[in-house]
């Protein structure tokens, strides 16, 4: 019956040595893991122990089944990892099967399963797994040494790990071949790689083969032990740390930042020391395996700014290691430490000494890093946490923000306009727009509250979007009203900038206003307002049904509540659509804006290379709209250039921040004649069949070149 003698040609001394030496890799591994856990425990408490079912499901689908690793845009890297993973895990399981047979079932129960068809299948699977592992390792070598993607740095640790995997697999094949060189099993063909290798080896004498087998048996186990001992000091620790990170991931919406609780009584604000991170955030630092996917769509990395999300994580990770932890890639000290300032000791300030303020202020909070990270590291909350400390404790922030904070505090908007001008755009409307206070006073019912937002209220360019949306609502016969002079900033810019005090003040003020009135739904054209109302207001008791205008317009078109003129030429030429970060990545609204564009008569939607969840930020989020862009090249111009490359004549957007950034970007690259930026509401309003009286005021029509806007 097909089988083989386990530990063939291994003497007693070898059997003793292998088990006795087990203490070394086990001890090192336990030490390395526990050392990390020790460091995580210095962090603040945070409940990540709820919803075990959801957590387990996520860990299985996202990590073990490679849901977040093999992705359309990362097919090569994903498949490479899948090959290594499947090969490695299969071989690991194979080793355990042998252990169970040899140490448990046979000696304890006198039962052997390692024979017959099971044995043949096992041999075939192991040989295939080895090939898969070697293929993955070679793919990785090719990627790191030949392709060299710009977002991927290669350190000694990366190459040593790949070498370990390759050598361990080759040793396994060679051991099998040396045995088959002596034992001429009739079923040897099932171990097809080892068998083929055994044929030339049979030219040597059995004595030679046995001697070689013994030496190789010892070297294989010593290599395995060396690999296991090295495991915890390299990024190979990621099967533990990354899996743990995915399991203990934050289950709240991506767009919800955790507020500072009891702000009035807090003694310190934000993150300035390792102890200010939560334990889960510290675990984030150890989960990073330096893959660089966070950089692929990062606006700052792609425009040569100091902030690189991966490096930020590794810089803080290095600081954690300096303070008593372990850096995942210790072998690379020198090259790694130069890059991530690791090894410079724990006597450094986190902000300024470990992470530069330039890095912190460059972030647009677009979330591209978090969306791409295969192990769900949350970069943005860390950055905002450190910004909070800079703003609230150190009073250090870019000069441009002084006016923003003053305006928010005095005028409830980042701009220097009095609240009385918030509804000035309504005067340009042909049909009157109701205000909530008046509707409430008249005891009139309001179905939809149109939350205009600061840019839509005050910025002349974005007022055109506001009016377009109001016209659409009127044309659809929707019973709506605005807050008018009562509307205040949602607090989103202040929160992302790090001024949590002001953000909470703004948010409470808005919720207080909203709670005065009765309505069924809120609609807004601003994804930042949308995100704040949807995801963050529930923190302070503001629970509302809120939709983005793209969702509502898409619904109105689908329900034929508005009619688009087939003869309209508003969509002549190609249109490309830009996904705003706070609508797309943060709230997963990708299809509605596209269905609106596709509904335009004659529209030809052409996608930019980076779209949907892989969209490239306009550069305006995270308070960057209000700051000067002094480092690297301009983010908005990079995106406009990408839009121009599609051949589109219209760049459609659905966010006032993006509109402002792209207007500047188009001017910056001198593309005013070839590309125009329009909000999807503007496009729909211009293509809409209007009834008499439902149009823009005469002065507004002339301002827009008679297009109806």
């Amino acid at each position: 019956m097909p089988t083989r003698q386990i530990e063939w040609n291994v003497q007693t001394l070898g059997q003793i040595a292998i088990y006795a030496l087990l203490i070394i890799p086990i001890g090192f591994l336990a030490y390395g893991l526990a050392r990390r856990v020790r460091m995580w425990r210095i962090g603040l408490p945070e409940n990540r122990f709820d919803q075990w079912g959801t957590r387990l499901r996520g860990a299985i689908t996202k990590s073990i089944l490679h849901g977040r690793i093999v992705r359309p845009r990362n097919r090569y890297g994903g498949l490479m990892h899948l090959c290594i993973f499947v090969g490695f895990v299969t071989l690991l399981i194979g080793t355990f099967i042998v252990l169970v047979e040899d140490d448990i079932t046979v000696p304890l129960f006198h039962y052997s399963f390692y024979r017959g068809n099971f044995y043949l299948g096992y041999k075939l699977a192991m040989n295939l797994a080895g090939l898969l592992l070697i293929a993955g390792v070679l793919m990785a070598f090719y990627r790191r040494l030949v392709v060299r993607p710009k977002q991927q740095d290669t350190s000694a640790d990366d190459l040593v790990l790949l070498a370990f995997l390759a050598i361990l697999t080759v040793q396994g094949y060679v051991l099998g071949a040396l045995r088959l060189g002596v034992q001429h099993d009739a079923w040897a063909g099932w171990s097809f790689v080892s068998y083929a290798l055994a044929i030339p080896l049979r030219g040597l004498s059995d004595g030679w083969l046995k001697a070689l087998h013994q030496v190789n048996w010892f070297s294989h186990f010593l290599t395995t032990f060396a690999f296991l001992a090295y495991f915890a000091y390299s990024k190979m620790i990621h099967p533990f740390t990354s899996l743990a990170n995915v399991f203990f991931r934050r289950l709240k919406p991506m767009g919800e930042l955790t507020p500072i609780e009891n702000l009035e009584e807090a003694e310190s604000f934000g993150i300035a020391h390792l102890e200010d991170f939560t334990w889960a955030q510290l675990m984030n630092l150890d989960a990073c395996m330096h893959c660089g996917r966070c950089l692929e769509y990062c606006p700052t990395f792609n425009t040569d700014k100091p902030l690189r999300p991966r490096d930020l994580i590794l810089e803080i990770g290095g600081y954690l290691a300096d303070s008593g932890g372990i850096f995942s890639g210790e072998l690379g000290e020198g090259e790694n430490s130069a890059r991530f300032r690791w090894g410079e000791g724990p006597e450094r300030e986190l902000i300024g000494g470990v992470v530069s303020t330039e890095e912190l202020w460059d972030c647009t909070t677009c979330g591209a890093c978090m969306e791409q990270c295969p192990v769900l590291i949350e970069h943005v909350p860390l950055i905002v946490g450190m910004r909070r400390n800079l703003v609230l404790e150190q009073g250090e922030f870019p000069d441009e923000l002084t006016n923003v904070f003053n305006n928010l505090e005095r005028l409830s908007s980042p701009y220097q306009f009095p609240p009385s001008q918030r509804d000035s755009w309504t005067k340009k409307m042909a049909q009157p727009v109701r205000v909530m206070a008046e509707a409430a006073a008249a005891e009139e019912e309001v179905e939809v509250l149109f939350f205009v937002g600061c840019l839509g209220s005050f910025d002349s360019r974005n007022q055109r979007t506001t009016m377009a949306l109001a016209r659409i609502l009127q044309a659809a016969g929707i019973n709506f009203a605005i807050l008018g002079k009562e509307e205040t900033c949602t607090g989103d810019p202040a929160r992302r900038i790090g001024n949590e005090y002001l953000a909470q003040m703004m948010a409470r003020q808005t919720v207080e206003t909203l709670n005065q009135y009765s309505f069924k739904k809120i609609v807004t054209a601003c994804p930042h307002c949308f995100n704040a109302i949807k995801n963050e207001y529930p923190q302070i008791g503001g629970n509302y049904a809120v939709v983005h205008h793209s969702e509502l317009i898409s619904q109105l078109i689908a329900e034929k509540r508005i009619t688009l003129d087939p003869a309209s030429d508003v969509a002549s030429g190609k249109i490309t659509y830009h996904d705003p970060c706070y609508l797309g990545r943060y709230n997963k609204v990708y299809d509605d804006p596209r269905s609106v564009v596709n509904a335009l008569p004659g529209a030809e939607l052409t996608e930019m290379g980076r779209n949907r969840n892989q969209s490239f930020c306009c550069g305006g989020g995270g308070g960057r709209l209000f700051m000067e862009e002094t480092r690297g090249s301009r983010i908005n111009q990079a995106r406009v250039t990408e839009a121009l490359a599609t051949g589109a004549t219209t760049l459609a957007a659905s966010c006032p921040f993006c509109m402002t950034m792209f207007e500047d970007g188009i001017n910056g690259v001198g593309a005013n004649e070839t590309l125009q930026v329009r909000d999807i509401a503007e496009l729909v309003a211009a293509a809409m069949v209007t009834t008499p009286g439902n149009s823009t005021a005469p002065e507004e029509r002339s301002e827009n070149g008679g297009t109806g806007l």
Binding site: Y19, A163, F164, A196, I199, P200, R202, L212
Partner: protein, 163 residues
């Protein structure tokens, strides 16, 4: 279990006792393996291996939680990493390289009743595995050497131990 909870606590005395206890568990495990192997008792291996694994895990975790990180030792290891890498490569990789070279030598010696097609397949696989092994090893040694060349003196490595 409550005693094991000392791993997390700040009870130094209890942690010390646990270190001695887990060391003893490991020692018993090793003893069982030795005695079993000499006496030919198969059952002692799984018991011994379990004791070594459990004892080693607790010991490793305890040292991680109780002891300060020995930065000086780590720094010395890192400083010698190229030498370590070369020695490890010779010890661990040379046997497999020798076996693969032997396979290539075996092509030209021994009996002639081996299938020519299988011999060719064996030769191709042997050359491929040999190339992969040598390439991986050299790349790893070179990378380790390159990393150590850029090593800088850092405050952490000078200050010695820290918690």
């Amino acid at each position: 279990m409550t005693r094991l909870a000392a791993i997390w606590s700040d009870d130094k005395a209890q942690q010390r006792r646990l270190i001695y206890a887990s060391s003893a568990v490991v020692a018993v495990g090793v003893l069982l393996i030795v005695v079993g192997a000499i006496a030919g008792w198969g059952w002692t291996r799984i018991v011994g291996a379990t004791l070594i694994t459990v004892g080693g895990t607790v010991l490793g975790a305890l040292i991680a939680f109780v002891e300060p990180r020995r930065q000086r030792l780590h720094a010395r290891l890192r400083a010698e990493r190229t030498t370590i890498a070369i020695i490890a490569a010779v010890l661990l990789v040379l046997p497999v390289v020798a076996a693969l070279i032997a396979a290539l030598v075996g092509l030209f010696v021994g009996s002639g009743n081996r299938s020519g097609r299988l011999l060719t397949a064996g030769a191709i696989i042997g050359i491929f595995l040999l190339a992969a092994t040598i390439f991986s090893t050299l790349i790893a040694i070179r990378a380790t050497q390159r990393a150590s060349l850029t090593l800088r003196e850092s405050p952490a490595t000078q200050t010695g131990e820290q918690g």
